[in-house]
């Protein structure tokens, strides 16, 4: 596939934006400004940036919590996300939710319910709606390697396959579910092998190579959009840090971590852009400068935003509230 220069820059931009945003969030966490946990996609940004950027405006994504790239690529601003981390009123959920539990129907992105793989059936439902209405839109959903062991993964994959729904399934296979290595999660070599049970074509791609993820996504999206049914895409990567900021990941062999650190998705992309594509360093620096500015502004915005009122907790339960006379 031939990817236009602007598109490559867009991928690079979102890689950097996700990285910087999560780095900033991590530092805010260590300053005690984020009260809940912080889980990042550090070192795995290429997965959600790749699948997120490959979507069309009218498509929808049902991500999981390590999909910062997809939230950003769908158009949820760094400002709103930063405010979300701080539990501010201006955060995506106005303080009702924390961290990456964000969604915005106007931007075609569903919030993530913590329960891993719950978004698999939900994503399938979006695809079902498109199919029923005969719209040329597609849905995507993503979960971790861990999430693929859940029943909802199975039920969703199967339903999508039977009805040939316009959905593409992603898995961020970062080799661990919290502390649990793949060998205690599954007895197959590739997560992609799981797709065999459903008659869903699958592909395993280098999850640290954003161009590879993006290309595979685009291809699968085209198939789905043209009534060719679902695809499952396993993105092999590595969680090169703890499960969250409070986990030192000492259960992971050092060598494994070290091996993967050299494969950092941003470095990989920079090598590619500077090499094969022949982009100038200034151009990349320009993106970085833009990203840093945006994150600085986002942090400022978030810090200056008001906290919600405590009594906001009483609002918003129902979409159709019941009138008490």
């Amino acid at each position: 596939m031939d990817i236009r220069r602007e598109e490559l820059l867009r991928l690079y931009y979102y890689l950097k934006l996700a990285r910087k945003l999560e780095e900033r969030a991590t530092s805010l966490y260590h300053q005690g400004k984020i009260l809940g946990g912080v889980w990042t996609s550090y070192g795995m940004e290429a997965v959600s940036v790749g699948y997120g950027c490959a979507l069309e405006r009218d498509d929808v994504a049902a991500p999981y919590f390590r999909d910062m790239g997809a939230f950003l690529a769908r158009g949820i601003s760094a400002k709103r996300i930063m405010a979300q981390y701080l539990g501010k009123k201006t955060g995506v959920t106005g303080g009702k939710e924390g961290s990456t539990h964000i969604g915005d129907l106007n931007l075609g992105v569903f919030s993530f319910p913590s329960h891993l793989a719950d978004n698999y059936p939900v994503g399938v439902g979006a695809a079902l709606a498109f199919k029923i209405r005969g719209e040329k839109r597609i849905a995507v959903t993503c979960t971790g390697d861990g999430g693929t062991s859940r029943g909802d993964f199975h039920e969703a994959m199967n339903l999508a396959a039977v009805r040939k729904l316009p959905i593409v399934f992603f898995c961020n296979n970062n080799q661990y579910a919290y502390s649990t290595p793949l060998r205690l999660q599954m007895a197959v070599n590739n997560v992609a092998d799981r797709a065999l049970a459903y008659g869903i074509p699958s592909k395993t791609v280098d999850g640290n190579n954003v161009v590879e993820v993006y290309t595979a996504a685009k291809e699968a999206y085209t198939v789905a959009r043209n009534s060719g049914g679902p695809t499952f895409i396993e993105c092999k990567t590595m969680r090169v840090h703890g499960h969250s900021e409070h986990d030192s990941a000492k259960y992971v062999p050092r060598e494994l971590l070290d091996a993967w650190k050299t494969k950092d998705p941003i470095l990989t992309m920079e090598r590619y852009l500077a090499g094969s594509v022949g982009m100038k360093q200034e151009e990349l620096d320009g993106v970085t400068a833009q990203v840093v500015k945006e994150i600085d502004e986002a942090e400022k915005f978030a810090e200056e935003s008001p906290y919600p009122d405590g009594t906001d907790c009483f609002t918003g339960l129902y979409a159709t509230p019941i009138e008490e006379e």
């Binding site: 695809a127 709606a129 029923i132 339903l159 009805r163 918003g316 979409a319 159709t320 009138e323």
Partner: protein
Amino acid sequence: MKEITYLEAIKEALDEEMARDPSVFILGEDVGVYGGAFRVTEGLIEKYGEWRVLDTPLAESGFTGAAIGAALMGMRPVVEMQFADFISCAFDQLVNVAAKNHYRWGAATPIVVRAPFGGNIHGGPFHSQCIEGFFSNVPGLKIVAPSTAYDAKGLLKAAIRDNDPVIYCEHKYLYRRVKDSVPEEDYVVPIGKARVALEGKDVSIITYGAMVHTALEAAQTLGGNGISCEIIDLRTLLPLDKKAIFNTVKKTSKVVVLHEQTKTGGIGAEVSAIISENCFGYLDGPIIRVAAPDTPVPYSAQMEEVFIPQTKDVIDAVEKLMRY
């Protein structure tokens, strides 16, 4: 007006809503060609096609989750559980996804989950359960449970048009046993409103579902003995119509709460608690609950009869309360 059965009322509501609004569709096991285990959706696939009356694989969590996703995209799915008992398999999607979407991120989830519930049909432990208790501590859901054909139709229409997830408890014992008048024209029964099924002055029987008919029978006998019963048919179980409940308590000062659900942790507990909290000064006797014992629903006819509250149990409770 025309007379139709409870089952026909449900079918008509589905049919009319599907005709009215192309975003309404049905999914579940055997709802299409077969017309549903209880034949509630019979004929609909012929009318609306296999994409609006969708036979799914046997996967309650998967198809409930899919209904949620479709709802987020503007559809109005009606999920059929083959028996209410199987809703347990979709518990997580209902409680953690559907119920919390609007509060968490402002996304409306207009799904209806039809749950054919209740016993008295020799179904045993897995085909007779009352499932409303699983969800009564789950903010964000609405639960309705009609007892008449009129309400069955009107509440289902209201549920489909509502923007929140609604669990629609249809009592399968009533499907073909209850028949009453419904208007020819379109109508809804508002969610959140109880109804006075019988006016009376001495004692209030607060109930819902099949037990409304048990209460009516009891009231007839009791009336003969000079005790005038007021019967409140809750219709909506979550949230409760507090005003209607308080009104009847203020009127009669004596309360029996009746349900087929097992006693501990049932809807009756909440009804009792809000009365104690808000109408204590009006009460002139204990709030008595008549409910099934705290066990699974037994299979044998002998046991099931003891298990399910009978007219006589209601009469005994009321008489005991009148003697208080």
